[in-house]
Amino acid sequence: MQANLYALVAVAVVALITAVIGGFGIRFARTTSDVLVAARTVNPRWNAAAISGEYLSAASFLGIAGLVLKEGADALWYPVGFTAGFLALLLFVAAPLRRSGAYSLPDFAELRLGSAEVRRVATGLVVVIGWFYLVPQLQAAGLTLSVLTGWANWIGACLIALIVITNVVFGGMRSITFMQAFQYWLKLTALAVPVFVLLLTQASQYTNARATAGAGAPPAFTENTTVRVDTDVVLQVTEPTQLTAVGGVDGAVDVDGTVYWGVGEHEVSEGTALTFPAKSAVPVVTGAPAHNDDWLRPLYGGAGDHPLFETYSLMLATFLGTMALPHVLVRFYTNSDGRAARISTLFVLGLLGVFYVFPTVSGLLARLYVPQLLVTGRTDAAVLLLPGAVLDSWPARLLGGLVVAGAFAAFLSTSSGLMVGVAGVLSTDVLHGRAKDFRLAALLAGLVPMAMAVTIPPIDIARAVGLAFAVAASSFCPLLVLGIWWRNLTDAGAVAGLIIGGGVSVAAVFGTLLGLAPGGWVGSVLGHPAAITVPLTFLTMVVVSKVTPKRVPSDVARVLARLHAPERLGLTPGPNPNRTGTVRRPADQDAVNRAGRHRR
């Protein structure tokens, strides 16, 4: 259990550093806008690292490797989409959004369309998306602590939720740019170092393993392995296997001894311990590819029935969803101008590209070294278990601690960003925007997803986050793209699109999370709604706007000129708040309201 000690120390250190820097940040921060968005003007490189640091969540750090381990080539679309989202953001949104001076999505909606109604709907959607995104982060924290200590999952979820709530309530926006940038490098190191160490020390074994685990074979156990099954599972057995089982297997309740499994599906009940001999084939949970051959190919491994549709729908959700995530947008406000916003997005593309090599390689290594996760289906733990499975004694503990530190950095940074975003819109738009309200809003922003994380059964982290992307892509992406590039958008069109597209996608996500989705086409569409809901939202916004041409805001030309003209012309507010004019009002007013308590 010494490995756990290292890991717990790592957790405590990361949490402490975050809290301390969050707490001190307040003393250093002087003006209200310093508090909320760090200093307004930040070097694009720092800002890029900060954006990446806040963006790389549990889904990127744990989820992708887990999904690669389970589903193989199809899972690679997740990191590709998470990166391509920033390319779409760069092409269509980055510079104009910065020039708009909007601090949050409701701000943008209001200053572009001049309607309080749009603002309200946008607020509701920011909250829903934030919560959908927070739930898998908290569940991932639960999983991580449970792997380390054997505690129940809800303990970790509640613990991390309470840490972040406390931080947000007492620390304002703790995301000093430096802290976020540091989180990026910590996460990169925590994934990359174990991968390099494993590849270097195990090079010879690796080739051996590849040779024995030929493409046609299922994955195999490297040594005698005991697996505890936490929830009822159905396993696919591809080679006759002899094993020892204690618990419930195939309907028999009190099995204790040798079991012989023929080829086919076998049920294992909760709480059962299975012991497999070395070199035997690993049975895989149903839905995941059982043979390495299928696992290596795209479109053979996904859990769904219509892999091609699901792949395209996922691409759409991730490509278009990134630009509409509340915690990503806030960061763009800290760029000094539109040009800096572009350059920092470009750097983000590079930083993410470097990072995402490592979850993929970790997933590949996990297939060789921790295949027992395929039996329980909890493959999200792959990255955490990898060092201990390959190395011994202190290197294993050291690297294990490093990985856990990275994982907690991921939970903390993303959760804090999301909670600050949700609490911000809640306190200004739902409550009265006073200091006291921000604390209440922060509580609300954290406790609701905490309750959801405990009650909703967890699905693969990357998949759950993908659902939040689908909602964002089906609501705010059309609002941003049409708002920035199309003169004729009206408030009625925006509201209709947000309600219909957002509503349908939220319903689909709830259906999937609660396990109500049936199989077949309906299940595929509900689990990957973006391919239907994104076009639906665009269509609704365009059609309703066309029908209500009189509602096009009278100042549309001026607003669009501000969005698209370079700052040098002096049209845009830019970094100088004295030149803001009316457009900046809502954003700054929010900042003043939200942070008012710091100027008692």
Partner: protein, 126 residues
């Protein structure tokens, strides 16, 4: 204590001389852009169209390249069996090659977008 919004805090102002100067020189066209005269609006419209056209073109290239991959793997399964340096083609493409590709497209975009803005500024100044 609600009245805090009545007394906004003194804000730091960064003075950039060069920017001011330039702004003064182009004040007439600028006024046209800002006050939504026909000339001003046409300038902005044209600029927006150039920028959007370029973004759409680059997006189309990315969508064509990335979007073709699932179809290609679905209808030409042999593609997924090709190995390059011991790595299967889908893993090589999706795991590694797409990232420099996207970075490259982003780099091209930033250059072109800045060039468009330069010519817009020139146009306004004339």
């Amino acid at each position: 204590m609600p009245p805090m919004s009545l007394s906004p805090p003194p804000k730091r102002v960064r003075v950039v001389l060069a920017e001011r100067k330039r702004a003064r020189r182009v004040v007439r066209t600028l006024a046209e852009v800002e006050e939504q005269t026909d000339v001003g609006e046409m300038l902005v419209r044209t600029h927006m169209r150039t920028q959007l056209g370029m973004s759409l073109l680059l997006a189309l290239i990315v969508v064509a390249v990335l979007g073709a991959l699932p179809l290609a793997f679905a209808y030409v399964p042999k593609l997924a069996e090709i190995s390059v340096l011991g790595v299967r083609l889908p893993w090589l493409l999706l795991g590694f090659a797409v990232y420099p590709f996207m970075l490259g497209v982003g780099w091209v975009y930033v250059r072109l977008a800045e060039r468009n803005e330069q010519s817009f500024i020139k146009l306004v100044e004339e």
